[in-house]
């Protein structure tokens, strides 16, 4: 069978046999998992990074710090597939919680990227001159207010390219969620492929979709970087 025939078969299943519904559903899940995972990850990561840079004279920051160390150690030390399986087949059933697989995937992606983003964010916070913190504290702002209003905005500007990297990794990593039965892009194209016993074109199309998504994200990041640059130097 030549490529044209394969392509026609693919188009036929995609359009006439409701393949596109699967693809759209897969795309939706992929984006949902990656975007929500990133958002949760940024929140968790920022919190952990803040705990890590707090001066550790008192008991509470020390306890929090060791909890964070354990957390980061666990999520960076095991593959995401393993975490996904652990959550879906071990942790949640043990707790008696029944969640749809997409929700579990979002949670695991969030927790996992939180561990990575915490280190990215920490380097970002440490790249901001300590004088910024002192300046904020000297006018009577609290540590957390100075962090929120002064240090983290500057840190985010510094780490935006790396954060974009993390987002791209997340998008691509979503292809593992079929392990727990969530319908992502891989599931959609696999469906089309197995219906026609022809995998060449579907998988090619899948790769192209991933590339297009990543290109769009790259552009978005570039745009954001430019708009954040305005305080940098003479404009």
């Amino acid at each position: 069978m030549n490529f044209d025939a394969k392509f026609n078969k693919f188009i036929d299943i995609l359009i006439n046999q409701n393949g596109y519904v699967k693809v759209i559903e897969g795309l939706e899940n992929t984006l949902k998992i990656a975007i929500l995972g990133l958002v949760i990850g940024i929140v968790i990561g920022t919190l952990i990074a803040t705990v890590r840079v707090v001066p550790k004279y008192k008991m509470l920051p020390r306890v929090l710090n060791s909890i964070c160390t354990f957390y980061v150690g666990f999520f960076r030390g095991t593959p995401m597939v393993v975490q996904l399986l652990l959550f879906y087949y071990v942790a949640l059933p043990l707790m008696g919680i029944n969640l749809p697989s997409v929700s579990v995937a979002i949670a695991v992606f969030g927790l996992n990227s939180g561990a990575y983003i915490s280190e990215i964010m920490r380097s970002g916070i440490q790249s901001v001159d300590y004088g910024q913190m002192e300046g904020g504290r000297s006018v009577g702002l609290s540590f957390s207010t100075t962090m929120m209003k002064i240090v983290i905005p500057q840190a985010v500007k510094n780490i935006l390219p790396t954060l974009g990297n993390e987002f791209i990794v997340l998008i691509k990593e979503t292809s593992i969620v079929s392990f727990v039965g969530a319908a992502d892009l891989y599931v959609a194209f696999n469906y089309i492929g197995s219906n026609s016993y022809e995998f060449m074109v579907p998988y090619l199309a899948m790769a192209i979709i991933y590339i297009v998504i990543v290109c769009i994200i790259t552009l978005l990041i570039k745009f954001m970087e430019r708009s954040l640059k305005k305080s940098d130097r003479r404009n």
Partner: protein
């Protein structure tokens, strides 16, 4: 206004301050000089607990702010600080730099007042958010006019010269209406050309009756503006006098040696 009693500070085994006692009165301009490594900057940074003292007391307006149980942020609002490297907020424009803390502090007070009003019969009047912002902005423009930088209100700090940055930093601390302002070598990071403009602003402040504690190497400025000069070496105050006697009749041998080495 500030009573420092037996102030001690050590970094690990390194004792930087070995018991400093001094009283700073309202309206005084106290200039602190000393060789590098003598602890003068550390002393100044202890005054608003930027460095936590390891011993002794700092009584500011009747409260010992060296006590870790005290909410230092409330007291820091009334203790301005100007740094060697300006420390303006790089992600904010000049006007935002000046307004930020007044607005945030007023908002925090507003929340507190609201909470209080819930439970008490006497209602304290509550300003609207817009009012708070407007007031802060008007005040900020007034302060900028005072240093002649109104046209830079919407510029980012990275576009200002060192002297301009330091003047903005001074009015940023003024915006909180402080009782005292601490200056940590405010002209040391400036080009020689720009030292004058910053010193002029400080002189004007001193004349308006602001209480100031200044660590500096500008001896001429100290002579002219100070109401008292103190010499710190090895973590203790070695000599303390009015500027005339301080510079003309230094008594402590270490001070004599120090003054003979610096250009006047």
């Amino acid at each position: 206004m500030i009573d420092v009693i037996d102030l001690k500070k050590s970094f690990g085994k390194n004792n930087v301050l070995n018991g400093i006692d001094i009283t700073i009165n309202k309206g005084e301009v106290v200039v602190v000089i000393g060789p590098s490594g003598s602890g003068k900057s550390t002393f100044l940074r202890c005054l608003n607990c930027m460095e936590d003292p390891t011993g002794g007391q700092i009584i500011f307006n009747g409260v010992d702010i060296a006590d870790p149980k005290v909410d230092i942020n409330i007291h820091r609002r009334k203790i301005g600080m100007v740094f060697q490297h300006f420390n303006l907020f790089n992600n904010k424009t000049v006007i935002q730099n000046i307004m930020l803390s007044p607005v945030l502090c007023a908002m925090a007070d507003r929340r507190k007042a609201k909470r209080k009003n819930l439970f008490s019969k006497t209602k304290t009047p509550i300003k609207s958010v817009a009012e708070i912002k407007k007031e802060a902005e008007e005040n900020a423009y007034k302060l900028l006019a005072r240093i002649g930088l109104e046209d830079k209100a919407n510029a980012y700090p990275s576009t200002l010269s060192g002297g301009q940055k330091q003047r903005v930093a001074i009015v940023r601390s003024l915006a909180m209406n402080p009782d005292v302002i601490l200056f940590d070598e405010p002209t040391s990071a400036l080009d020689p050309e720009m030292v004058g403009e910053v010193l002029d602003v400080m002189k004007e402040l001193a004349q308006s009756g602001m209480t100031m504690v200044i660590v500096t190497h500008e001896m001429g400025f100290a002579k002219e503006v100070a109401s008292r000069v103190i010499f710190i070496d090895e973590g203790v105050i070695k000599e303390e006098n009015n500027p005339q006697d301080f510079f003309q009749n230094p008594k402590h041998p270490r001070l004599k040696e120090f003054l003979s080495k610096v250009l006047m």
